[in-house]
Point group: C2
Chain length 89, copies 2
Amino acid sequence: MTWVAEVVVQLKPVVNDPQGLVVRDGLRRLGFTGVRAARIGKHVELEVEADSEQDARESVAAMCEKLLCNPVIEDYRIDSVRATAEGRA
Amino acid sequence: MTWVAEVVVQLKPVVNDPQGLVVRDGLRRLGFTGVRAARIGKHVELEVEADSEQDARESVAAMCEKLLCNPVIEDYRIDSVRATAEGRA
């Protein structure tokens, strides 16, 4: 069965985010003066084979810990795990 | 009032994603043989001042169209807009 997992990898709140500062300043310069802060992270969409949603979720968590997330400066969260249309059929 | 919006900017499904291919192959090489595909996008967390959730949402959509998203190759979606703890007080 195939599952689609959405993962968000973000810098920890205490870590400086120069890319976010540039985006914030760029938005302000474009006239969006109400922007107080911007933080940029990664969004990873993974298609994985697994027997159950629980297995898929555990497998994706292991992937985050081994490759996708640098635990020194980043946090990750698994936003959703859903069966693909094909998986449901 | 301050709102926190979460935006996901992803390559359109028809656009080639070399970064995603590298992540997929890296995961497979690490032993995650069940990975069928990976696609990498951006996750942007914005803190904006606005009078209402509707205003905040419209403002964030305008930011996506003017700066955050390249409409030729990318799609965006606004995942959530919520009042900050400070905003709710």
